[in-house]
């Protein structure tokens, strides 16, 4: 159902939600925007930048979090999961889409991550579509879009003075139950805007046959070429909404077993105690990063593990651009015998 949220009513609505939820929305922190819980007198930064610097996955998989607490010598107990009801307002469709992909990792039949699941179950996602998609983004190329619905409970379209609200789940519907219904004109206006936004985004690279090419060229010099200037830092992966790797470390002094974000771009990530490292150089690590997103995810869930948010492009300290890498991959020979 399509509803209307007047912009001058937005703060009122957010405050109303604060009665029942911890409401997170993009706000300014230093020079960038960040999902922070709303405090009295909050100032939203919805129009500041397209995406928050740190993807909202951090609200579900914090950069560091304790899994176990050590109680006495050799004893331990589980850290309780977090079940505070939360509402994330203003999440962009690419980031919300990424959540559904991460669900396939953390919520599996055999092993479900209780911390992830508890936070996911307790959190509603209200998205804000991108009527002016960002230049570095390439969501439409990878099967997402500036108004993609995946993972969202409701999505907002900016129509000037009002937001058109499309509720997508029952929970989303109940959130906006107070609002008036949108006219057909308004719905049509939004739909035009949504299509125009998607149409304004060029196709960044060809995804058809990309997986096969990457698979078949596992030993190609291509990987060395694209990783030559890579610094092997964690910017692209830490700011990526679909990267989820973590490390588990015992902090003995604090008495906790914690998990920290980790990345396949670090040398120590795959380094074994024997000194053997299956991915010793930037070449193998870059290959792992790209292949994971563009072939392994495809094998696993039949979706590219990238939602085209463009953060890795914007913040790479050496200006590496995944779109250019994949355009180059489009040129690779196909059907080379896999060794």
């Amino acid at each position: 159902m399509n509803l209307i949220l007047k912009k001058d009513q937005l703060n009122h609505q957010l405050n109303a939600w604060r009665q029942d939820y911890e409401v997170y929305a993009p706000q300014s922190l230093q020079n960038y925007t960040h999902f922070l819980p709303l405090q009295d007198g909050f100032e939203l930064a919805l129009d500041k930048a397209h995406n928050t610097r740190i993807p909202p996955k951090a609200l579900f998989l914090p950069t560091s979090e304790a899994l176990l607490k050590f109680t006495r010598v050799g004893g331990y107990e589980q850290v309780p999961t977090e079940t505070t009801p939360r509402l994330i307002f203003g999440i962009r469709p690419c980031d919300a889409h990424a959540m559904t992909m991460l669900d396939t990792v953390f919520e599996q039949e055999r092993y479900t991550d209780p911390h992830w699941q508890a936070r996911r179950d307790a959190t509603l996602l209200v998205g804000l579509g991108c009527h002016e998609p960002c230049q570095t983004g390439f969501c439409t190329t990878v099967g997402s879009g500036p108004f993609n619905h995946a993972g969202l409970d409701a999505i907002l379209t900016d129509l000037g003075d009002i937001f058109l609200v499309e509720t997508l789940t029952e929970k989303g519907e109940s959130l906006f139950s107070q609002l008036e219904t949108a006219t057909e004109e308004q719905s049509a206006q939004a739909s035009v805007l949504q299509q125009a936004a998607a149409a304004s985004m060029p196709i960044a690279f060809e995804t058809e046959g990309l997986k096969e090419k990457l698979d078949q060229n596992f030993d190609s010099p291509y990987w060395e070429e694209i990783s030559r200037s890579c610094l092997s830092c964690g910017v692209c992966t830490f700011l990526c909404p679909t990267c989820f790797c973590f490390d588990i470390v015992d902090e003995a002094q604090r008495g906790e077993r914690v998990r920290n974000w980790d990345t396949c771009m670090f040398r120590t990530y795959s380094l074994e105690a024997s000194g053997h490292n299956p991915r010793p150089s930037r070449v193998e690590r870059t290959r792992q990063r790209l292949s994971h997103k563009y072939t392994y995810w495809v094998d696993q869930i039949n979706q590219i593990g990238c939602t085209g948010c463009g953060r890795c492009v914007r913040y790479c300290p050496v200006g590496l651009d995944i779109r250019a890498m994949l355009r180059k991959a489009n040129q690779l020979p196909s059907e080379v015998a896999h060794v």
């Binding site: 922190l29 914090p62 950069t63 560091s64 979090e65 902090e251 604090r254």
Partner: protein
């Protein structure tokens, strides 16, 4: 929280020439002083000081040999440069310089370390507990980004 300052003493194993002083340091050190014996002050990595600070030390004393009296000839001189710079640097970001004290001992010195420790402790008591730099001992939530 107790008011007795927590103190870490890095002691060069050669700097106390008197067996009585060494015996006192080894066996009779008050409970609030954590002793770390090193083969030479030159062995003290600034990371050790960081560990002491992040371990919750209110003050750090480094006792070593006077210049030209180092058992290993020059360990103390290198240490002096590095550790002093480090304490100066810690002061720059919020760990008071008064919390790091160096004690360079002469071969003839007797009973100095006890006095110096007591004086240092009094100074730290006046300063109050160190609370600026984060420690590893208490449960703390993630940072601004968590």
């Amino acid at each position: 929280m107790s008011e007795t300052p927590k103190l870490v003493l890095f002691q060069c194993q050669w700097c106390l020439f008197s067996p009585a002083d060494q015996e006192w340091v080894d066996n009779q050190l008050p409970a609030n002083i954590h002793l770390i014996k090193v083969p030479c002050t030159g062995r003290i990595n600034p990371l050790y000081l960081l560990n002491a600070v992040q371990g919750g030390a209110d003050g750090i004393m480094i006792s070593g040999c006077l210049p030209e009296q180092c058992h290993f000839k020059t360990g103390n001189i290198g240490a002096r440069r590095q550790l002093e710079e480090f304490s100066d640097y810690l002061n720059y970001i919020g760990y008071e310089q008064e919390r790091v004290r160096f004690l360079w001992l002469d071969l003839q010195d007797r009973g100095i370390i006890q006095k110096e420790l007591a004086a240092f402790e009094a100074q730290l008591e006046a300063l109050g507990p160190a609370h600026n730099l984060a420690t590893r001992t208490v449960k703390s939530a993630g940072g601004a980004n968590a």
